[in-house]
């Protein structure tokens, strides 16, 4: 009896071994290496300098806090972080506002049209991410139809011409476009599971349309909103491709700076410092989100 129970426990560990090993090798270990790198000197031609040097027959550690001091020595990076978080919050909010009605509509439509609508939501994934951003560049181009029509209309009201390309507007539009499905899908998965009788019951007990939404549908969908928000917020926080292509000089985000450190500046230690801060920020957001949704789940509408 005891033997079989032990055997079962063993098989459970055995099953979780591959994913555990994968996460250890490709997530935990690199993160620790990155943390360690942030205390090392940059190599002369990029990369990292050796952390153990022989100095007159004696082996000494060659580590430094220089990169961390650089981070806190100026407010440039702090402001970049704040700006990136601002972009991430904006994108998440826009996605939420746009995804909610869409997910609700899909969840409440007939079974046949539901499958089609879901297919349409994930349809953009069929083409490459960069190709889709290039498409937006064409749309936003100063000689493109959209800009021309917009400026034509603005001219009627005596407002000067605007450029859409290389602006925060262009970035937000594109960030929202790329991440919208990540908000729609978890929200849909949540809303689709709602018991329709709950809304009938609420209506029966005297709740009008809006109160049915705010007192029943909305609180029950909070776990879906949390999941979607995390899926949007974190990738946007570390995004560098969209700011690179659409953001111009003002649109730079923390992801661009990190990429810059590893590529152009060849300052791996400082890149590691920024990456660590970004990782900690992302983990903090996830913890905050899950805590918030757990509190809300047990909370009343009163």
């Amino acid at each position: 009896m005891l033997k079989t129970v032990q055997g079962k426990a063993w098989s459970k560990y055995l099953l979780s071994l591959p994913p555990m090993a994968y996460l250890l090798i490709f997530f935990a270990a690199p993160t620790l290496i990155m943390l360690f790198s942030s205390f090392r000197y940059p190599g002369e031609y990029g990369g990292l300098a050796p952390w153990l040097v022989q100095d007159g027959g004696q082996w000494t550690f060659d580590l430094t806090l220089e990169s961390w001091q650089r981070l806190f020595g100026t407010d440039i990076y702090l402001r970049l972080f704040v700006k990136s978080i601002g972009y991430a919050i904006c994108t998440t909010l826009f996605c939420m506002v746009m995804a909610y009605p869409l997910a609700l509509m899909i969840a409440r439509s007939g079974r046949k049209s539901r499958d089609l609508l879901l297919l349409l939501v994930i349809l953009p994934f069929w083409s490459n991410f960069l190709v889709r951003i290039y498409a937006w560049m064409i749309i936003f181009s100063p000689v493109g139809a959209l800009t021309r029509i917009l400026n034509g209309v603005l001219d009627l009201f005596g407002v000067g011409p605007v450029t859409l390309m290389y602006s925060p507007t262009a970035m937000i539009v594109c960030l929202v476009y790329v991440h919208l499905p990540f908000m729609v899908l978890p929200l849909y998965a949540n809303l689709e599971k709602h018991d329709p009788y709950l809304l009938d019951a609420a209506q029966d007990l005297g709740a009008g349309k809006w109160r049915r939404f705010w007192l029943i549908t909305w609180p029950l969908s909070l776990p879906g909103i949390t999941a979607g928000s995390i899926l949007v917020f974190i990738p946007v926080l570390g995004m560098f491709a969209i700011p690179d292509l659409l953001g111009g000089t003002d649109g730079i985000m923390i992801g661009n700076v990190i990429k810059q450190q590893f590529m152009e500046s060849r300052d791996w230690p400082f890149g590691s410092v920024l990456s660590m801060v970004l990782t900690v920020a992302a983990v903090a957001v996830v913890l905050l989100g899950s805590r918030l949704s757990r509190q809300r789940a047990g909370m009343s509408g009163s």
Binding site: D195, Y197, L198, D200, A201, A202, Q203, D204, L205, G206, A207, G208, R211, L215, I216, P219, L220, A297, G298, M299, S300, G301, S302
Partner: protein, 390 residues
Amino acid sequence: MVWVFTGRENGALLEIVNVSRHFDTFVALDKVSLHIEAGEFFTLLGPSGCGKTTLLRLIAGFDQPDGGDILLDGKSIIAVPPEDRPLHTIFQNYALFPHMTVAENIAFPLRMARVAKQDIRTRVAEALEDVRLPDKGNQYPDALSGGQKQRIAIARALVNRPRLLLLDEPLSALDAKLREQMQIELIDLQKDIGITFIYVTHDQGEALALSHRIAVMDHGRIIQVDEPSRLYGYPGSRFVADFIGKCNLLDGKVSEQQGSRVTVELDGLGSVYVSGLETQFAVGSRCALTLRPEKIRISRSSAIPGASDTLSSPADPSPLSSFDGESHFPGYVHDMLYLGDVTVYNVTLANGVLLETLLANSASGRTNFFEIGDQVEVAWSCDAGHLVLD
């Protein structure tokens, strides 16, 4: 104790007038009319797809009729949205809000009616007392058992005193023992608060146990509306006789009527008297005699003198005059079911018809009075059965 209704047509609480509902070509309700009195426990009974739930949803307002009118206190409520109708529904799955505590669930209709906060607190506490769950207020519905959820759903629906309570098969999710207990609780509750209940079920036993009046429905129409005992004793049609309880149907033809007593010639058996009838039957019309199994006496054929004669001549239409209004027929035990309290004997009559009879196992130790194949005699008094026309 006994509920008596007077002035049924005047000042009914809820009137359903010629209500129809079609789904494409399917007729869910076909010109249904009903009057439901204040304080009544009224049941809509029928097989699945008979339209009873459709009718309930029309009363609640979740669906609109294609024709006809629904009047509450004499005023049409067709145009009133569900949230503004002074009636509540108990759903089959209770539909308790999972993200609210029990107390918040019960407070919900009061909040919707914008009742003051302190009043809500006292009324929720009272409601919890009423359903005997005073200390469950802070729990979430997930933590409750099926019966407790049921009670909370009832408390929530009754807390702001609706004119009408609609119950959509509320006990179907409970196990048999709990269901019986909840039936008794429902009867007591309804009696205490005096709110009109409209109850939907496909379970005829439940309908008989709970209701003051029952409307039997089939294929979108009301077949018969009556008190449970009358529905059981005087079914108006083969369908009702067959649907409510167990019933033997013996086919025959009306041959004579004298006042309330009708002579019926049963196919292949002979003539019998049926007394206590309230309607006039045309002579010669096809009909069926409805006989409940418990109203038939079964005895050993040798115990009755002259029984062997009847056995030898099954077509002899003589049993009429014998034994002060009782009809006797010979047969043999085809099969039997021992059920503990009673034994069911299926007796094959001379015309080949199988008659279901009940014998209470009153003597201790003796379980089977008859064996399969035994020659027996079945008998019933002339007021035991009822006639339904084809």
